[in-house]
Symmetry: C2
Subunit: 140 residues, 2 copies
């Protein structure tokens, strides 16, 4: 593979392209979504270790470049996911822990209402909706 767009963008802003940065981004894309610690382990499976501090620093950089984003899929840890592919909103089941991705289109009425009622512009990419999935939520 030749130089990609993001790699050029990285350099255009004075940053350097390092193997660690490539590994972390690749790991996030492979995982779908993961916490810093999960990303660390994913990177290790693929190659030699990258230090956890570098994971944190790299995720911060990648997020500032818009290559990854984070949301909170658990009460305790930030979860990063790649911005490659279509936007989506995360649905997290409180019972089984399953994470599904919903079409942002479903949230259009909400965005409209919040704009009209509160002048509020929603950041859908960061949104995670907690609740019960179809399997866990069945009653009677």
């Amino acid at each position: 593979m030749t130089t990609t767009d993001w790699q050029e963008r990285l350099r255009a802003q004075g940053y350097r392209l390092t193997p660690q940065r490539e590994l972390v981004l690749a790991a996030v894309e492979r995982l779908g979504h993961g916490t810093p610690d999960e990303i660390l382990h994913a990177v290790r499976e693929q190659s030699e270790a990258v230090n956890i501090s570098t994971i944190y620093r790299t995720l911060e950089l990648l997020e500032s470049l818009g290559l990854v984003r984070h949301t909170h899929l658990s009460d305790r840890a930030p979860t990063y996911h790649s911005t490659t592919g279509p936007d989506h909103v995360h649905l997290k089941c409180r019972s089984c822990g399953e994470v599904t991705e919903a079409d942002p289109e479903l949230f259009a009425p909400m965005l409209e209402s919040l704009t009209v009622e509160h002048g509020f512009t929603v950041d859908l990419g960061h949104l995670t909706v907690f609740g019960l999935c179809g399997t866990c939520g069945v009653r009677d």
Copy 2:
């Protein structure tokens, strides 16, 4: 004030009514919403200190009783709020940090869509929507 409903419910489940538990609940109601640390300081203003471990343990208990709930108003800390008063969804401005409360009614179409499309039952009380408030979001 005489014995309230929650106090009886507490005892009905074998728990004891302690001054710490009353202080923590009062602090949460007074603050509107706050992190464990903010609640600790709020309690201290009102009376003698309560240990931070007790704050954590008490919030967990109060949440299991349904007297308080938590959501995530910042990337890092859980924020507790009392369930007294009407339900509401939190809107958090990424720019100025302001937190506003939105009418759950505005989210009805979203709840409906997620039920239909994913069989997903939303927990609105835990929801916090990030974005830009009317003041910060104005462009041009």
